[in-house]
Symmetry: C2
DNA sequence: ACAATCTGTGTACGTTATACACAGTTCTAG
DNA sequence: CTAGAACTGTGTATAACGTACACAGATTGT
């Protein structure tokens, strides 16, 4: 199982690129990576990431727990494979929306839809920059949305990463909130809770907002929350793009962001 | 233990506001909430959130595992208490920076510093809007930074939430990356990995960026990555604020964001 | 004094990831 | 054509987890 020394790829990713050698000897495998990954995804969709244990996955396939380890080095590796697998569901339209703003909006919303379809994807820790074939293809789509913006390559990557991080964060938040709400059903609104707890002296502004009744609505995560943040982020990206096209005219930006990472 | 029915607060928060009744009868407690929470925090700081088990915390205090349950209803409750406890470390300067941009920059960086000091804080799932006394105090500080911006109350909250979410997301990312890097040390840069894997036909833009050498630096998370995104988010907030002050002059905004959530 | 009520302990249960040994199967080298 | 290398799937074992539950001892209110 230690034949991953030839590539420097993180564990599991060599499988995705078909770089792990096949076996000649031994009985014919009764199982396959694809079936294992698919079973794990179905389980995660149905009962959440916490329900994905090696036993449960094996049980669903009619095999024993340990049999999975003939195909996968560890549970972490399985999670990595699950991630890239669902990334294949992200659809690339034939005709891209016109302009970077519409393009990135589509990109963000499509990704959010995926997170909603497979909520567990936002729970798996990120172990590195995208390296799976399907994740990279989706990244490529995002980059294409920025083609006419005059941004440098690493700036485009920075923008894509920021946006992707925003979507992931919001997806995670909405999931965690929903889970907590299901575990401990609440009837009081955020505004009501704040009013029972805050004193006007120590928390003047919050107290004012709470008193105004602006927070007296059911505290589920809504699409409007997502759109509010998305518009802000897009506006920020717009400022960067505008400053870059100003650069192209010879003017210099005053106190704007630099590139996302300092090269050598 | 079911005397939380009078308040509608989430479990554990009544403790923070001193709303859980004290006991008269029985032996004098040999332990206290504060000591438990502090021991748990020390453990999390030293060995990560995964090391925080009821056994390990109890062991550190010289008590048995089950004794903790006299003070805390569940491990989740303990995590909630840990969160609000460290929020008390966020320092409020006597003289606030001038202007919302400097103010929010301070606010974001201070919060990032807390995440760096206690990396596990970014791993605990968010179970609802902030309700602990210290978390709310910090929120109040953020709101104060926006006082002269002309934003509505719920808009201010939306801005603060977005910024807080950004910082949390970046902190989580940098932690996850560091953990993965420690578990599987890599010597190849992102650029090198991409070049071994990408073909120019399917991934033209990425291929170009990877070929340019712009990604050939050690892939640790850097402060520059954080600042890049922070500037973008602040720029986006700037656009919103500018549009709101234009509103004050009677003009209407064209295609900007709405308030973060729709009230009743 | 006695009962109510609390604290801390010990035991028990079900679940987790995975290390390891072993039986059976298939291909390859001689 | 045969011996053994290399593989697949199974069974067993281990240490750790959260927490339900019963119980002994301490303290207080009546």
């Amino acid at each position: 199982m230690d034949d991953t020394a030839d590539t420097a790829l993180p564990p599991g990713l060599d499988l995705l690129w078909g770089l792990r050698e096949r076996n000649r000897r031994g009985p014919r495998p009764g199982l396959s990576l694809e079936r294992i990954v698919q079973a794990a995804i179905e389980l995660a969709d149905a009962e959440g990431l916490a329900a994905v244990s090696m036993s449960r996955v094996a049980e669903r396939l009619g095999f024993t727990t340990m049999s999975l380890y003939r195909y996968v080095a560890s549970k972490d590796e399985l999670l990595t494979l699950m991630m890239d697998s669902v990334a294949g569901e992200l659809s690339v339209p034939d005709d891209l929306p016109p302009g970077w703003r519409a393009g990135l909006t589509y990109w963000a919303k499509e990704q959010l839809a995926l997170f909603r379809r497979h909520p567990w994807t936002a729970q798996i820790p990120i172990t590195g920059p995208p390296l799976g074939p399907r994740a990279l293809a989706w990244m490529e789509v995002g980059l294409r949305m920025l083609e006419d913006t005059g941004l440098a390559g690493d700036e485009k990557l920075g923008v894509i990463s920021l946006l992707s991080g925003y979507v992931r964060g919001e997806a995670q938040l909405s999931m965690d909130l929903a889970a907590a709400l299901q575990a401990h059903p609440r009837q009081a609104t955020y505004g009501e809770l704040l009013r029972t707890v805050l004193d006007a002296d120590r928390y003047p502004i919050l107290h004012g907002i709470a008193a105004s009744g602006a927070l007296d609505f059911p505290s589920e995560y809504s699409e409007a929350d997502f759109d509010f943040g998305l518009q802000l982020v897009l506006d920020g990206i717009g400022v960067l793009i505008a400053s870059r096209s100003r650069d192209a005219d010879g003017a210099d930006r005053q106190d704007g962001p630099g590139p996302p990472s300092d090269g050598p």
